[in-house]
Structures are given as structure tokens and as C-alpha cells.
């Protein structure tokens, strides 16, 4: 088994699932967990056809309104973990509860419905280039069948400071502006959890800082749970908890282990 991590890990797993990696913190017991995983495994086949275990039994519990940074070296499996937590990918074993709903019991249709409760912000913005800023923000609202998609999308763009640029196409916007559109799009669906994959990775430090501020302000105002994957230490410092993915397992940073 996984020698360095197994100790606390196994114990927790055998006793109380709610007291996973996050530690049995008296302060957080009783708070609603938004995401919980148990023995989460993910195996892929590498180029030579050999099975490669990326996640080897990840256990974690994330509570409503928390901001969590997931750290880890390149290739540690951060994105894989993110995809699984968001219901975008299927695990090879173990279970994920998103808002108390076990994902393994859902079909793609059900998972898609669950995904309407999460938002995404990417390093490379991932806007649809042939759609205007407004149309980009409208998209999740429309997919969720919201009849007020037009008004809401406009309001969100105003909120991120792009009210004057709603008809612009992504290529007509700067990197920072594009990321604002992406953030507006992510928050427009009023998500329970917002996943951000290196949201400042493609931006200079000043712009990056403004994006960080925006993200955390909205997170606070909306009461959204924020889960960040990042290398950026400053960004990680903003988060209440820091988890490190190493050798297929998740380790909580000692300094944040006590929780908020």
C-alpha cells in the first residue's frame, strides 16, 4: 500500500467517512459537505498499453462555502481529479458524493444535471471564439433551460465589469477580459461549486491579481464553494485549505488542517 500516506488515510477510512483527510475537526462537524470522496481510484492505459494508476484511493471532504487549493506537480493527476469531482469523467473505483448525491449511481444524463450545479474556469479561458461575450455567458443558462438567460447573462457581464463589451468576440478582448467573461459564465449558472484550473496561469501578475480578487469576491458574495488547481503560491495562500496531490493520494497542508 501507499506507505507514507496510508496511516491516517486507512484509519479514517475505517472509522468515520466524514472525518476523511480534512481531519476530524470539531469546528466543521455538522457543516454540510458539498464534495466527499471515498477510495477514489482512476486508472488509465498509458502509451505502451500498461495500466497507470493516477488516483490510488483519494479521500477528501469539502464543505459548502470553502475555498480549497489543490496543489501538486505536473502530471500528478490534478486535472483528472477535478474532472472526476465535477462529474465529467468516470472513476475506476470508489465513490464521489456531489451535494450528497453518489455520482457512480448516475447515468450521463443525471451527471449532466449535476454539472449544472458546478462552474468551471480554465487557464486558457476556453471561450467559444465564434460566439460573442454575451452568447458565451448565455450558454450555460440556456442549457439549463433558464428563460431569463439573456437578462441574467447581461447582468453577469456588467458585474465583472464588461457591460460595455458584451457584443465583442473573444479575439477582440484582452486575456484578462476573456477570463472575466469566463468567470461571468461560470457564475451565471449559480453554481454550488466552482472549479478553477490555473485561472491565472495565462495572465500577467497585475491582471492575475485582479482576477483572483474577482474570483474570491464573487465566491464570498455567492457563497460558492471554490476549488482551485494551481501552482501559484499567492493564489493558494488566498484559500482556506490547501491539499496536495502526490503519488495518487491527497494530503492536507498542516497549516490549514485545522480548517477555518
Amino acid at each position: 500500500m501507499n506507505a507514507p500516506a496510508s496511516e491516517s488515510h486507512d484509519q479514517n477510512a475505517n472509522t468515520d467517512p466524514t472525518a476523511a483527510v480534512s481531519g476530524v475537526d470539531p469546528l466543521v462537524v455538522g457543516r454540510r459537505s458539498v464534495i466527499r470522496t471515498e477510495k477514489l481510484m482512476r486508472t488509465v492505459t498509458d502509451a505502451d498499453g500498461q495500466p497507470l494508476q493516477i488516483l490510488q484511493g483519494v479521500e477528501c471532504q469539502i464543505y459548502a462555502g470553502e475555498s480549497v487549493a489543490i496543489l501538486g506537480s505536473s502530471g500528478a493527476g490534478k486535472s483528472t481529479l477535478l474532472g472526476l469531482l465535477a462529474g465529467l469523467d468516470q472513476s475506476s473505483g470508489g465513490e464521489i458524493w456531489l451535494n450528497d448525491q453518489p455520482l457512480s449511481q448516475l447515468d450521463e444524463e443525471g451527471r449532466a444535471l449535476m454539472r449544472q450545479q458546478v462552474g468551471f474556469v480554465f487557464q486558457s479561458f476556453q471561450l467559444l471564439e465564434h460566439l460573442t461575450a454575451l452568447e458565451n455567458v448565455m450558454l450555460p443558462l440556456e442549457l439549463a433551460g433558464d428563460p431569463d438567460y439573456h437578462i441574467k447573462a447581461k447582468q453577469w457581464l456588467e458585474r465583472v465589469g464588461l457591460g460595455a463589451r458584451i457584443k465583442h468576440y473573444p479575439r477582440q478582448l484582452s486575456g484578462g477580459e476573456q477570463q472575466r467573461v469566463a468567470i461571468a459564465r461560470a457564475f451565471a449558472g449559480d453554481p454550488l461549486v466552482l472549479f478553477a484550473d490555473e485561472p491565472t496561469g495565462n495572465l500577467d501578475s497585475v491582471t492575475g491579481q485582479s482576477i483572483i480578487d474577482l474570483l474570491f469576491n464573487l465566491n464570498r458574495d455567492q457563497g460558492t464553494t471554490l476549488i482551485l488547481v494551481t501552482h501559484d503560491v499567492t493564489l493558494a495562500q488566498h484559500c482556506q485549505r490547501r491539499l496536495t496531490l502526490k503519488d495518487g493520494l491527497l494530503h492536507e497542508d498542516i497549516s490549514t488542517k485545522a480548517g477555518v
Binding site: 465535477a86 465529467l88 444524463e109 444535471l113 467559444l128 450558454l139
Partner: protein, 859 residues
């Protein structure tokens, strides 16, 4: 001795060595090959070349096969017909030019046997006859019986010796003679030694109405039949390879006199000629269609490949290989790939053709001659042309990739100017179409048609997309998203919908023309097309003749009255003087023409100028006689509406005025007439009747009975000619089926290329949609709506395009009647939707199966 490492300050910038672009290209090719990104480009090229090679080989072999057969019907590759003997030096010249030459002489003469006389078509042939095919003779053993035997032997260059005559069974019956009997032709006595069962170059024409007697050329003089002014026909037949024949033809053409007529394969037997022509046009057109489809597929695959290689080039550029160098390397890579693909395609085409022809060898009775080298050049040349025309422009753009792209992914390479892209493609197309068809008119029409269809469909499609966008907001969610996706992707959706439309259009067109061609041939030569003509039926024999046929259950045509008359005057002048100089030797002025009367215009005839007379026309004594003239004769003699013609019927003269000109279908083996009058003009002239009927194989015995019962009636067996024509049509039909299949295949490849072309974008968008809360099923539904819209638009475009092109082609190239078909209007848009939706959904099936984050990260 190893040199010491220099301190950094002393290191100089080395002069860059020129990059070995060719060897880099080869190395890169192997790597790219493994990546799989070249698969589509390679398949599109291979398929294009394979199609062209296959058509090329089949068309070449069929062409040779058909020419061989047509040459057999005619007696040589080139035939010179003359009413006088030509200078002997012409034959010597032919032989010097490497051709085989042989002469024959035909005349009509009374042949006398012990039991009677018979007007016969005597043919005198020289050694070497026949140049093409072989005479078939009945076995001598069967001679005692009067039964017709199907068993026969083919001669190898054997001919009647001096003093011998070979006759056909009709003459034998008419004279009640047998092998060994003596018969008289003119002053000379001949002994019947063989019975001819098949004569390869019997052909049509008036001479063939009479039974055949074949003698040696050297015996003609002794018969004394040939006198100055005698009606004789010399035929000089030449054979050799096509270039020699063409060369000699040119030589002859400079020396021709008005009394000469030069025939090549196409002119001599119109029924075969037009079938050949149309088939050839079809093959050309279908392969042009297949190549256009493949060309577009190549273009789409190449532009996808170029887009996917921007990063590679940017990285290499940032490492010191300038983008132009990398672009050059990729162009070389493309060239090598093209050469490999062209060779593979040509080899595949050749093998498929060989296998295919072997597989149907049992069905096609004639062994096809092997193909020449030309298809190889054509196929490989096509591959390279396709590359230059369709793939080089997108790949050249790789030279413009900015190394900055390494940092900024959004820096796209400049898209090539559409003038360059379309200009190059158009040029390649024009070159290819002209190369395949050697027909400037066809090239012009096809190119113009194609450009018009493309521009028109671009405008229509964009307009439609715009309209859809306008109504978008009121649509339900999935349709709204689909419409927005289409409109916002118009740059990729437009070529896609046009490619889809093109596929449907070409396939529909190729299928449409195939059906109509086959139907027209079927109609021209149905299973029970009349295989016998009966001429010289006397009016008093009419009832009995009909009865005999009816009693035997033989289907026959009505009996057409024939009145023979000579065209004596035109507009009051002797006919000879009234016509232009070069028409003075025309047959129509030198023999009696067959005239008939009709109240209605005969089937298969079409008035092209003037008007047909009213059905109940009653001519009074002083009324001018209206005449209906056959178009070809009118043209040859420069006759038009309003000209007055006088005909001499053994003393009686009737003058009439041309009131209409008729197009006659000479392909259908039905009795046709040059000049027709209304009823009430010719009825009192001496006349005979003509009928055609179909005699099944097992009732051949009837011929002998009929010949005995109606000794004056001539029965002409055209079954042989029909069979030859049928064989040719069979081969052509096979070629057409094969071509249709290949056009379909090219269409499929283009469909997939077009779908793949938007695949990268769709993969990314699908992934993104899923992160935004869409389920796989919802994405599939949105895509489905998109493809349905694309399918409808493409179907409608294809419908308009194919109807327009069919309309132009039918009239101008295939001589077919064009008519709108309603099934077409229903089937095309419908099949467009089904095919494109199916292909689209299949081609994009990975969009919902790949893990979204993996796709988004890679992008």
C-alpha cells in the same frame, strides 16, 4: 585532437548550415505517418488516383474493345468509300505508313442459277479480307440438309479462289442451289463452294437488302458487269494502330475528292457510334465528378492537417527553423506523400480493373484488349495535379506561422486569400477536365456550371443561415443552439454544406444520367427488337404475308408502302446543278429514294423546322404537295423549308414543297424514310411494302418457308448487327455501373473529410458544453439538428445544381430528353438529410465519449 571548448565570449555565431529540406521532409513524413493525421489526406489522394486509374483503364480497354468491334462492323479502322477505283498509290502509301490495306468492290447484279434468277449484292474481295474479325462459314458436312445449322467455322484469311463463289443461305434458297452448283454472275460461271453464315462487315445500307455472293477481286473483270456508269462501290479498308490510322487519315483527307467518303468507326455505324460517344462522355463525366469530389476532400484534409501543424511549425520556428523553411519542408513532405499515394492509387486501380474485368469475363462475351500506358500517366498526373491545386495552398500558409504562437495560441496563421485557393483549385480542375475530355466546349460548360453552382450555393446558404439566425431566438433551446452554432461557424459550415451538396449533386447526377442512358438503350434495342426486315413485298402479297406471320405468332410492324423515286429537280433546276458543288456526289442524287406517306409523324421522328400537316389533310388537285424531309439529307443538300423538289417515279413526276424537316432516330433499327408525303399523293404509284419483325431463334425455319412462298420478297437478317450492338452496350453498361460505384465511394470519403474538418472544433465545443452542464445526449441532439439543417440545405443545393447541370448536359452532350422528375425532388433532400446526418453523427461520435478535461487541456 579534440579542440578545447572556447570561452563563451569567443564563440562566434556559426554561419547557419542550409537545412536539408528533403531529408527532413522524409524523416518528418515517417513521424507524421505514425501520428495518423495524414490518414485522411492520404486516403483522399489514393482514392482519387484509384478512381481515375480504374476509369482510365476500364475506359481505355472498353474503348479499344468497342473500337475493335466497331471496326469489325465496318471492316477496318478506317474505310474509304468511292464510286470509282482510287489511285493504286494510295494503297501503297498506306502500306508504307505501316497500315494493312485491303480493297473490296460491291455491286448489285442479277445472279442466275439452274432454277432461277436472283438480284444479289455481289462483293469482290482481295487477299487480306477481312482485316477485322473473320468470316464464318457453315460446315461443309451439313450441306445436304436444308436445315439451318448454328454450328459454324471461322475462316482464317481464306477466301473464294478464282472461279469460286461463296453465298449466303438466302441466295442458296432463292436459287434453289446447293454446294457444287454453278451460278452465273454476268458473263462468268462460278461454283458455289461455301455458305457464309456470318459476315463481320455486312453493316447496313441498301446493298445489304439483297442476298450475298462473295467472289475474288480478280474475277470481277471477267464478269463484265462493271461498265462505265455502273453503280458500284469500292471500299478500301485500312487497319493499324490508332496513331498510324490518324496519321494516314490526315494524309487521305488532303486528297479526297467529292466522290470519296471517308468513314471512321463513329460515322459508319451510327447506332454503335452514338452509344460509344455517349458512353465515353459518361465515363469522362463520372470520373471528372469523382475527381472533383476527391479534390475537395484533399483540400479539406490538407487544411485540417495544416491547422493541426501550426503549433509544430511555431515551435520549430522558435527553435531556429524559420517558418518558411518549415513550410518548405512540409510542402516537400506533401509532394513525397502525393507521389506515394498516386503510385499506390494507380496500382490499386490497375489491379481492381484487372480483377473486375476478370470477374465479369463470363458476362461479357468479348475479350477486352489490354490497356495501354496512357491511364498510368493520367492517374499519377491527376494525383499530383490534385495536390498542387487543392492541397498546396493551405500547406503553403504554414510558412506564415508566427513563432510567437508558442506563447500566444490565439495567433492563427493568416488564412490564404480565397482568390489563391479557389483560383488554384479551379485551374487544376480546368486542366484535368480538359485533359480527360479533350473537349474545350465540355470543359467550358462544366467549369462555368461548377463556378455558377458554387457561387449560387454560397449565396443561398449564407442567406439561409442569416435567416435562421434571425428566427433563432424564438426557436426551442436545442434548435436555437444548433442554429447559432451553424451561423457562428459559417466559415467551416459553408464549405461543409457545399461539400455535402457537391457529393449529393455529383452522385445524383451520375446516377440520373446512368438511369436515363440505360433506359434509352433499353428502349432502342429491346429484347424483341425486330431482327428481320422484309422488303419488296408486292401489294397483292400483303394479306397473305401478314397472315403467315400472324399464324406463326410472329410480332411484326405494320406494312409500310414504299415508292421509289429519283430526285430530279430542285427549285426548277436539275438537282445536280441546284445543290452546292461538294454535294453533287451525294448518294441521294444518284439513286432512287424510298418515299412513303403518313398522316401522322412516325414515332421517334421529331419535327425540327416547319410544321407537320394536319392529320385529316385532304389535298385537292391543284394544291402544292407538302413534303417532309429528313434533317441530315436537308443539311447535306442545303435544302430548307419552302424549297420545291420534283421526284421522278419511272416517268411520272410529282413536285412538292418542303413544309417540315424531321430529325430521325437512326439508332433504333426501325424503318425510316428520307421523304414523306401526306396520304393521297403516292397511292397510285408502283409500290412495294416493307415490314420488320422479330423472329425468335427457334423459329428460324420460317425463313426458308417464307423465301419459298414469296420468292420476290427479300428477307434481311439484321440479328447479327443487333447482337454486335447489344454486346457493345453491355460492355458500356458494365463500365457505367462501375463508375457509379466509384463516384459513390469518392462521395463518402468527401463526406467524412468534411465532417472531420470540423471535428477538432466540435470535440472542443462538446467538451466545453459538457462542463457547462450539457449531457452527451443533449449535445448529440443539438448536433443532430445541425446536421439535419445541413442535410436539407445540401439536398436542396444538390437538387438545384443537378437539375441545372442535367438540363445542360442532356441537351448538349448526351442527346437525351430532359424531364423534371418528382421522385428526384423528393428523394434528394430526403436522402441528403439521412446520409449527412448519419455520416455527421458517425464522424463526430467521439465528441461525447472523450473525457472533457483531457480535450480542453490538450486544446
Amino acid at each position: 585532437m579534440p579542440s578545447a571548448v572556447l570561452p563563451t565570449s569567443e564563440r562566434k555565431l556559426q554561419k547557419p548550415k542550409p537545412v536539408k529540406q528533403w531529408s527532413m521532409a522524409l524523416k518528418l513524413l515517417l513521424r507524421e505517418w505514425r501520428s495518423g493525421d495524414l490518414n485522411l489526406l492520404f486516403s483522399a489522394l489514393v482514392l482519387a488516383v484509384m478512381t481515375v486509374a480504374l476509369t482510365g483503364f476500364i475506359a481505355d480497354r472498353l474503348q479499344r474493345g468497342m473500337e475493335q468491334q466497331a471496326a469489325q462492323l465496318m471492316g477496318g479502322d478506317l474505310v474509304l468509300r468511292s464510286s470509282r477505283a482510287v489511285d493504286a498509290s494510295w494503297l501503297t502509301e498506306a502500306e508504307t505508313q505501316g497500315l494493312k490495306a485491303v480493297s473490296s468492290l460491291e455491286f448489285t447484279s442479277m445472279v442466275a442459277g439452274d432454277e432461277g434468277f436472283q438480284l444479289s449484292a455481289v462483293k469482290a474481295v482481295d487477299s487480306g479480307y477481312p482485316l477485322k474479325g473473320g468470316l464464318e462459314l457453315e460446315p461443309i458436312l451439313d450441306l445436304e440438309s436444308s436445315e439451318l445449322k448454328s454450328a459454324s467455322v471461322s475462316t482464317e484469311g481464306a477466301l473464294p479462289a478464282s472461279g469460286e463463289v461463296w453465298v449466303d443461305r438466302r441466295l442458296l434458297s432463292a436459287l434453289d442451289a446447293r454446294i457444287g452448283s454453278d451460278i452465273e454472275i454476268g458473263r462468268e460461271l462460278f461454283t458455289i463452294t461455301r455458305i457464309i453464315s456470318k459476315e463481320p462487315d455486312r453493316g447496313g445500307g441498301f446493298m445489304s437488302f439483297n442476298p450475298r455472293a462473295l467472289i475474288h477481286f480478280s474475277d470481277v473483270e471477267a464478269t463484265g458487269v462493271i461498265q462505265p456508269g455502273s453503280r458500284v462501290r469500292y471500299r478500301y479498308m485500312f487497319a493499324g494502330d490508332m496513331t498510324q490510322v490518324d496519321h494516314f487519315k490526315n494524309w487521305l483527307e488532303e486528297r479526297l475528292e467529292p466522290s470519296h467518303r471517308l468513314l471512321d468507326i463513329r460515322e459508319d455505324s451510327p447506332s454503335v457510334g452514338s452509344a460509344l460517344d455517349r458512353a465515353q462522355r459518361y465515363l469522362q463525366l463520372a470520373s471528372i465528378g469523382a475527381v472533383i469530389l476527391s479534390g475537395v476532400a484533399v483540400a479539406m484534409a490538407a487544411s485540417r492537417f495544416a491547422r493541426r501543424r501550426q503549433d509544430t511549425v511555431a515551435v520549430m520556428a522558435s527553435l531556429g527553423f524559420a517558418a518558411p523553411v518549415m513550410g518548405g519542408i512540409y510542402l516537400r513532405l506533401l509532394l513525397v506523400l502525393g507521389f506515394v499515394a498516386a503510385t499506390v492509387g494507380a496500382l490499386l486501380g490497375f489491379s481492381l480493373q484487372a480483377l473486375g474485368i476478370q470477374a465479369v469475363a463470363g458476362l461479357v462475351p468479348i475479350a477486352l484488349p489490354p490497356a495501354g500506358w496512357e491511364p498510368w500517366v493520367l492517374a499519377i498526373g491527376t494525383g499530383l495535379l490534385l495536390l498542387i491545386g487543392f492541397a498546396s495552398a493551405p500547406l503553403r500558409q504554414l510558412r506564415n506561422v508566427s513563432p510567437l504562437r508558442v506563447f500566444r495560441r490565439d495567433l492563427e496563421m493568416t488564412t490564404p486569400s480565397s482568390m489563391v485557393v479557389y483560383g488554384l483549385a479551379l485551374m487544376a480542375l480546368v486542366v484535368m477536365i480538359y485533359w480527360y475530355s479533350s473537349d474545350a466546349r465540355l470543359t467550358l460548360w462544366l467549369t462555368l456550371g461548377l463556378v455558377a453552382v458554387l457561387v449560387l450555393s454560397a449565396v443561398l446558404t449564407l442567406g439561409l443561415f442569416y435567416l435562421l439566425k434571425k428566427v433563432g431566438p424564438v426557436l426551442p433551446m436545442r434548435a436555437r443552439l444548433a442554429v447559432r452554432s451553424l451561423y457562428s461557424h459559417k466559415q467551416t459550415a459553408l464549405p461543409q454544406v457545399m461539400a455535402f451538396g457537391l457529393v449529393l449533386m455529383v452522385v445524383a447526377l451520375v446516377a440520373l444520367i446512368r438511369n436515363d442512358l440505360l433506359a434509352s438503350w433499353q428502349q432502342q434495342l429491346p429484347e424483341n427488337a425486330p431482327n428481320y426486315f422484309a422488303i419488296n413485298i408486292q401489294p397483292y402479297e400483303q394479306v397473305e404475308f401478314t397472315q403467315r406471320l400472324d399464324n406463326a405468332g410472329i410480332r411484326h410492324s405494320p406494312l409500310y408502302p414504299i415508292v421509289r423515286g429519283r430526285l430530279s429537280d430542285i427549285n426548277g433546276l436539275p438537282a445536280q446543278q441546284a445543290v452546292p458543288k461538294d454535294a453533287r456526289e451525294d448518294n441521294a442524287l444518284h439513286r432512287e429514294l424510298n418515299l412513303t406517306w403518313h398522316a401522322q409523324i412516325p414515332d421517334d421522328n421529331q419535327v425540327i423546322a416547319g410544321r407537320w400537316w394536319p392529320e385529316n389533310i385532304q389535298l385537292k388537285a391543284d394544291d402544292p404537295v407538302p413534303l417532309s424531309l429528313e434533317a441530315g439529307m436537308a443539311e447535306r443538300l442545303s435544302l430548307g423549308l419552302g424549297d420545291t423538289l420534283s421526284f421522278n417515279f419511272t416517268g411520272q413526276v410529282i413536285t412538292g414543297e418542303v413544309t417540315n424537316i424531321r430529325q430521325v432516330n437512326w439508332d433504333n433499327f426501325q424503318p425510316n424514310f428520307y421523304v414523306i408525303t401526306p396520304p393521297g399523293v403516292l397511292e397510285n404509284m408502283p409500290q412495294t411494302l416493307l415490314a420488320s419483325f422479330f423472329l425468335p431463334e427457334d423459329q428460324r425455319g420460317l425463313v426458308a418457308q417464307m423465301v419459298k412462298a414469296f420468292p420476290a420478297v427479300s428477307l434481311l437478317d439484321i440479328g447479327q448487327i443487333l447482337d454486335q450492338v447489344r454486346q457493345i452496350l453491355q460492355q458500356v453498361t458494365m463500365a457505367i455501373e462501375v463508375m457509379l460505384g466509384f463516384t459513390l465511394l469518392s462521395g463518402l470519403v468527401l463526406l467524412l473529410a468534411a465532417v472531420k474538418n470540423s471535428l477538432d472544433e466540435r470535440l472542443r465545443e462538446g467538451a466545453l458544453y459538457r462542463t457547462l452542464g450539457a449531457s452527451g445526449r443533449m449535445i448529440r441532439r443539438i448536433q443532430c439538428i445541425e446536421f439535419i439543417i445541413l442535410g436539407i440545405v445540401a439536398g436542396v443545393l444538390a437538387l438545384l445544381g443537378s437539375e441545372l447541370t442535367a438540363f445542360l448536359l442532356y441537351r448538349n452532350l448526351f442527346d437525351l430528353d430532359y424531364s423534371l422528375s418528382f421522385t428526384h425532388w423528393l428523394v434528394l433532400p430526403l436522402s441528403g438529410v439521412v446520409i449527412i446526418t448519419a455520416a455527421g453523427l458517425w464522424g463526430t461520435r467521439h465528441v461525447v465519449s472523450q473525457p472533457p478535461l483531457q480535450v480542453l487541456r490538450a486544446g
